[in-house]
């Protein structure tokens, strides 16, 4: 019955997809104010290392470790965000790329705390912690007809699913709020929005800090999902990968970034039957996308068309501004 249906393989892949969705949303927020950041791998590593060190060396509970990690990364992101205000476009991208590398080299050389290039192992595993907790409360996997590993994978999946849905819900709501409209205005035209009385400094730093915080949060979850991290997990390739999620799926609407993360994380798994050649398709797809759909797969127009097909819901809000993805 239930036991046969649950395959840890699919749950594992889904768990990575969920983390990638959070990362894609984190870059989407930063991109949403027209700031191109390549430092998200760096923020992710700060989150991952913070919670890893706290839980390993100071026996802090996992939940507290993740929350502190997100807060620490948020603070660092805000501090980086302030000087980054002076930079635009490519210059900001290069500066944040540099930041990411600085963080990586710092973790490599801070041997006493981070164990250098060898990395930290034995980080409390999210699933195994839940397993032990539920065992101590008298809940055994057998009660649901599950094996231990199925129970662990399922628990991790549901926890991440709830977290991811909350994150998406929060940012969809924010997009339709005063803050979200300010973000869109800044993305469209900074000078014009300043003339309209929007506090550009505040909103840009807010977006950068939020993006960093979310990336750190995802990094912390990643650390507890893998139970082992090393600086090479968070190199330049990771930063580009995160950016590609959003750019490929479409950085105009949040659903585009989410779609990009789902599609690009799932595709290599679906293409497993052609083994060595699957990443060629990955590359070919990116080239084709850039040639024919530079705004990403899902853009505002597509969302509008999609919405017209959907039955209209209560109240029918009329919206004139750039935010069109409200439900």
């Amino acid at each position: 019955m239930l036991g046969e249906l649950i395959n840890p393989y699919y749950l594992q892949v889904s768990s990575f997809i969920l983390i990638n969705i959070i990362l894609a949303v984190s870059i989407y927020i930063t991109l949403g104010t027209g700031q191109l950041s390549l430092g998200h791998a760096g923020f992710m590593s700060i989150g991952a290392y913070t919670t890893a060190i706290l839980t390993l060396n100071y026996n802090m509970p996992l939940v507290l470790g993740v929350i502190i990690a997100a807060i620490v990364t948020g603070i660092v992101g805000t501090l980086i965000g302030i000087p980054a205000l002076r930079l635009q476009g490519v210059y900001l991208a290069i500066a944040t790329l540099g930041f990411g590398e600085v963080v990586r080299v710092l973790f490599i050389n801070w041997d006493g705390l981070t164990n250098g290039a060898i990395g930290l192992s034995g980080i409390p595993h999210l699933g195994r912690e839940i397993f032990n907790l539920s065992k101590s409360m008298g809940i055994e996997p057998d009660m649901f007809g599950l094996k231990n590993n199925q129970f662990i994978s399922l628990a991790v999946f549901f926890v991440l699913l709830i977290i991811t849905i909350s994150v998406i819900w929060f940012f969809v709501r924010q997009n339709n709020s005063r803050i979200g409209r300010a973000f869109s205005a800044i993305k469209m035209d900074e000078e014009a929005s300043e003339a309209m009385g929007i506090n550009i400094t505040y909103y840009k730093v807010l977006a950068f800090g939020q993006g960093a915080m979310l990336a750190g949060f995802a990094g912390a979850l990643y650390a507890h999902l893998m139970a082992y991290i090393s600086p090479s997990d968070f190199d330049y390739h990771r930063a580009v990968e995160i950016l590609i999620f959003s750019i490929f799926g479409g950085s105009e609407v949040i659903w585009g970034s989410i779609f990009g993360a789902v599609f690009l994380s799932a595709m290599p798994e679906f293409l497993r039957f052609i083994n060595e050649y699957r990443f060629m398709i990955y590359g070919a797809l990116l080239v084709l996308m850039m040639a024919f759909r530079p705004q990403g797969i899902i853009d505002v127009n597509m969302m509008n068309r999609f919405k017209r097909l959907m039955p209209k819901k209560r109240g029918e809000k009329k919206h004139g501004t750039g935010n069109k993805e409200d439900q």
């Binding site: 840890p8 393989y9 594992q12 290039a117 192992s121 595993h125 893998m226 082992y228 497993r272």
Partner: protein, 383 residues
């Protein structure tokens, strides 16, 4: 999209499809059932680094495994079905594919993954699921300690480096050493940790410790300092691409003392890149292709015939690893994960191309490494 670009798109996609169809021949899981009924049938999964920057390791490993698989199938003592999967050298991929092998494919045992970092993630999961896993190329410390079901047949740096350093000291009477290592790579960093330990244990005076980064091309700053201190020996923990360049530059600057390298420094490529400058490099390795041994000669011959190149250390380790696994399956007598695990643990004095192998109680390999030195552009046994 205009009509023309639509056409272009279609043509491109069609082209991609044709190319893929032409390329998709790599899986060689031939499952000929043996004649007699008493042969053990088992399914072994392989996780290998087949795409990306380290694909050459994965290729050597899968070649070694495929060769061993072919020979064992011909012998007909066990009937093993192979399932080779790619990890792209990424931890997430390795974990996903391990889950796939364990839960979707229901394999009885796993060989791989290639990198120690991947094993750090996959090992505990395999242990939790009760699937025996044998690493054939993981040299970092603490791998077999990940769980009862985790084994390896590759010698760790903690075994290889002391052997080579000891021999070099015996021969040259070295007292003062300089250490040079890559600090941003797990492999070279682990090698350095061992070197430091060895230097302490053997009461060597460490004149200086210099670092470099992966992909660096100019080592003159570090080498100038080393030269000015006049060491008797240089301990260098580097991968062969960087290592060969270091040797070349060191010799040009006039540093002519012997170099002792780690496991990653051991590759025929060093001689190809550095030429004469490679002379005087000492490495300890489990694998020596020119060993005067029937098994080794046959393996080298067959491997060259099948793949057109000389087997390296990774191919040899994978080849032996698969034989060890087949032996364990045969001894277990059934395709049961726990039985295979117990049979693996009991493997003793197995004669492979690497030499005599046994597992200790933790699942780590017990084997004597061979110490080699490069002389006249060739690896020879260092006496």
């Amino acid at each position: 999209m205009s009509k023309r670009s639509k056409l272009l798109f279609t043509v491109l996609m069609a082209f991609t499809l044709v190319m893929l169809a032409a390329c998709g021949n790599s899986s060689t899981d031939d499952t000929e059932s043996a004649d007699s009924d008493d042969v053990v049938k088992a399914k072994v999964g392989v996780i290998s680094y087949l795409t990306g920057s380290g694909a050459s390791y994965g290729e050597a490993i899968t070649n070694g495994i495929n060769l061993a698989h072919k020979e064992i199938t011909e012998l007909g003592e066990v009937d093993i079905e192979l399932k080779i999967e790619d990890s792209a050298g990424k931890q997430e991929e390795a974990l996903s594919v391990a889950q796939k092998l364990m839960n979707s494919e229901n394999v009885d045992a796993i060989i791989g993954p290639t990198l120690s970092t991947e094993m750090q993630i996959v090992g505990p999961e395999a242990d939790l699921n009760g699937v025996p896993i044998l690493g054939t190329s993981n040299t970092a410390e603490g791998i077999p300690q990940l769980g009862e079901y985790v084994f390896r047949n590759s010698i760790p740096e903690t075994l290889a480096i002391p052997a080579s350093v000891q021999k070099a000291i015996d021969k040259y009477g070295a007292k003062k050493v300089a250490i040079l290592y890559g600090n941003d790579d797990v492999f070279t960093k682990a090698g350095y940790d061992t070197m430091k330990q060895v230097a302490e244990d053997l009461d060597l005076e460490v004149l200086t410790t210099e670092t470099f980064q992966l992909g660096q091309s100019d080592y003159k700053a570090q080498l100038t300092k080393i030269k000015s201190l006049n060491p008797d020996l240089v301990l260098a923990s580097a991968l062969y691409n960087e290592g060969a360049v270091i040797l070349d530059q060191a010799r040009k600057m006039g540093i002519d003392v012997p170099f002792v390298g780690g496991n990653g420094f051991n590759s025929p490529e060093v001689i190809k890149i550095a030429g004469d400058a490679a002379n005087g490099l000492i490495v300890a390795t489990p694998w020596f292709a020119k060993k005067d041994d029937e098994k080794v000669k046959k393996f080298v011959e067959d491997y060259e015939a099948a793949y057109g190149m000389e087997p390296d250390q990774f191919a040899a380790q994978a080849y032996d690893g698969f034989y060890v696994m087949a032996e364990a399956i045969k001894n277990a007598g059934e395709a049961d994960r726990d039985a295979i695990r117990d049979a693996l643990a009991e493997i003793k004095d197995f004669e492979g191309v690497l030499g005599n192998m046994s597992f200790d109680e933790e699942g780590d390999i017990i084997m004597e490494p061979t110490v080699l030195i490069i002389e006249d552009d060739e690896y020879v046994v260092f006496e």
